[in-house]
């Protein structure tokens, strides 16, 4: 059995994963995953449904045990020291993991007590967390009556009661509207500011870009790419230019002109008639400049030019050559309906 001492980087690493394997019947939810999260950083684990993201988080938070491989979180082995490990982690799952029948305050107080805080300290911590996550007014209401965003904030508060060293966020904004999603992002950014190490899973490149400094892309239980976000974006060819002419009548001529230019990034130039803009994928700054030059040469007045990050689909297309969709023959390993065997 490999010891963590064999990995010199483990000292600075808050999460170290080596060769992690988890099977569900014939489905390989995780098929040899390696991962390092440095202390105080945010690691984004990006992948489609069924890629194994949730399985990874469930193993790292000791909810399930791996079939093979090793994982160490904050210095504790997930298999051999689960109790010590649980003391230093926080977990926010895909579904709000709070007791909906209990008021917000009672949820946090209960968790404080379960983390062995004395009564008085647990009470103070519950008040403090509600205040911090702007839930003080809803303290006495059952969590079931909360809005989606409030529930997610309570969930984050619950994860933070124990002042964790490592926080696992499993698709923290799935199912939230854009405004609420921004709220959650702000909260996560604040927690990172406090020095918490975060491992977050997401299906959205935008979310990874917003929160994470490093990225691990997973597909069908395997890591297919990893590294700093900027590097990864360069690898996948980064951006899509969204160009909106001031006069909608210029839309078609503009698209024709850009087609002629022959800039082909990951996809071809497309017209988004609804927003009255042309979408041009570009691979480099040179291409971007060439596009703008071509537009200027035609004398077309522009109302807006924005750059957009590639979608998960585009990232996948460039990394794997196939679209980001769950393998059809596989049982989704991430569902919570998984029965005990």
């Amino acid at each position: 059995m490999t010891r963590i001492d064999d990995y010199p980087e483990a000292a600075k690493s808050a999460v170290t994963v080596r060769g992690l394997v988890k099977h569900y019947g014939r489905t390989k939810a995780l098929d040899g995953v390696d991962l390092d999260v440095r202390e105080g950083t945010v690691m984004g684990v990006l992948g489609p449904n069924g890629a194994g993201k949730t399985t990874l988080v469930r193993i790292l938070s000791t909810l399930i045990t791996p079939d093979a491989g090793q994982a160490v979180v904050a210095g504790h082995d997930v298999v051999r020291q689960p109790r010590q490990l649980r003391r230093v982690i926080g977990l926010t799952g895909q579904y709000a993991s709070v007791d909906e029948k209990l008021p917000g305050w009672e949820n946090l107080y209960m968790i404080g007590r379960l983390l062995d805080l004395p009564r008085k300290a647990a009470r103070a911590r519950a008040d403090e967390m509600l205040e911090r996550f702007s839930l003080t007014e809803a303290a006495r209401r059952p969590a079931g009556t909360y809005s989606g965003g409030m529930r997610r904030r309570l969930d984050l508060a619950a994860s933070m009661v124990g002042r964790p060293a490592v926080l696992f966020l499993d698709e923290p904004t799935t199912g939230l509207d854009p405004r609420t999603r921004n709220e959650v992002w702000d909260e996560v950014a604040r927690m990172v500011g406090d020095g918490v190490t975060v491992l977050l899973t997401t299906q959205y490149m935008e979310e990874a870009e917003q929160l994470a400094s490093e990225l691990t892309v997973v597909d069908r239980g395997k890591v297919i790419a990893g590294g700093r976000i900027e590097d990864l974006k360069a690898t996948v060819g980064g951006r899509t230019l969204r160009i909106r002419p001031a006069d909608p009548l210029h839309l078609r001529p503009l698209a024709a002109a850009l087609d002629e230019l022959g800039v082909t990034g990951l996809a071809t130039t497309t017209v988004d008639a609804e927003s009255g803009s042309v979408l041009v994928p570009v691979l480099s700054d040179e291409q971007l400049t060439a596009v703008i030059g071509a537009v200027t040469a035609r004398g077309i007045t522009l109302a807006a030019v924005t750059t957009e990050l590639p979608s998960l689909d585009e990232v996948f297309l460039s990394l794997t050559g196939h679209r980001a969709s769950a393998p059809q023959d596989a049982v989704p390993a991430d569902t919570r309906e998984e029965v005990a065997v």
Binding site: R3, I4, D5, A10, A11, S13, A14, T16, E39, R58, S61, T62, L63, I64, T65, V72, A74, G75, D77, R80, Q81, P82, R83, Q84, R86, R87, V88, I89, L91, G93, Q94, Y95, A96, S97, V98, D99, E100, K101, L102, P103, E106, M110, I111, R113, L114, L115, D116, P142, A158, A165, R336, E337, E338, V339, A340
Partner: protein
């Protein structure tokens, strides 16, 4: 946070277990406060069953016992105590299964608490509900003429029913963890419960039952509990049934508690 060679996992001290169980009991009690209707079964069941059995079957079974309705009241109230312990134990399975539909179980399992605490808290609260049901049963029983001859015995009978009930709860908690949804837990619980409840000496003396059924009722622990309660509350021989019930309670707990905790621990 320094990486170290692997040291053995921390143990949870007894005080820690008590603290965790206490926090979880509080949670389950708050549910009742939030939703008082969840106590309806504990309140209504003893009333409905006592009135139903005493007034519908009381006359004729009482006659067979060599008396009348009064004699049947003496017979059935201790029996209903045994039934209550069975029914309340069954309910704990469905409640526990529902818990898994919310993410809160994941939260518990990611906290540094003993897995047993979550289950024991459920049992403690269910026993409290059982006490409520028992108090109401006795009150209604006295109203319809139940004559308690031995108060010490009454307390002993209630304790015995609680012991047996908590043993059974481990069985139903196991079902609650293993089964996919509430419906299957209910169906399974019903299948287990019906023969145990009616194929026993709870409602009627087995002496008039056919031989094969008597063989079943003789081995049915619910009969032992009912007969022991009867002896304790109204006088009569108890020793054999008392020991039998205690043995069943201990055996159920010893076998099923580790199974339930293991199933809970490994549920993915």
């Amino acid at each position: 946070m320094s990486a170290a060679t692997v040291t053995p996992d921390a143990r949870i001290p007894l005080r820690g277990h008590l603290r965790h169980t206490g926090a979880l009991v509080r949670r389950n009690l708050l549910w009742i406060r939030q939703d008082p209707e969840s106590l309806f079964d504990a309140v209504l069941m003893p009333i409905v069953f006592t009135l139903l059995f005493v007034y519908v079957f009381g006359g004729s079974i009482g006659q067979a016992l060599g008396g009348g309705q009064d004699q049947y009241v003496q017979y059935v109230v201790p029996g209903l105590l045994a039934m209550m312990s069975l029914t309340m134990a069954q309910g704990v399975g469905t409640g526990f299964n529902q818990d898994f539909n919310s993410g809160v179980m994941d939260r518990f399992r990611s906290l540094p608490i003993g897995r047993g605490s979550v289950l024991i808290a459920k049992i403690v609260v269910e026993l409290a509900r059982m006490l409520v049901a028992t108090a109401i049963l006795l009150a209604v029983g006295v109203l319809v003429g139940f004559d308690i001859t031995n108060w010490g015995g009454l307390v002993a009978a209630v304790a015995l029913a609680a012991a047996f009930g908590s043993g059974l709860m481990w069985v139903f908690l196991t079902l609650g963890v293993t089964m996919k949804n509430v419906q299957s837990v209910q169906a399974m619980g019903f299948l287990v419960m019906m023969p145990l409840q009616f194929g026993s000496s709870v409602f009627a003396p087995p002496s008039s039952m056919p031989g094969w059924l008597r063989a079943f009722t003789d081995y049915n622990p619910v009969s032992a509990l009912a007969d022991a309660s009867r002896g304790l509350m109204t006088g009569g021989p108890v020793a054999h049934d008392l020991w039998l019930t205690l043995a069943w309670s201990a055996a159920l707990t010893a076998v099923m508690a580790p199974v339930a905790v293991h199933k809970f621990r490994t549920k993915s």
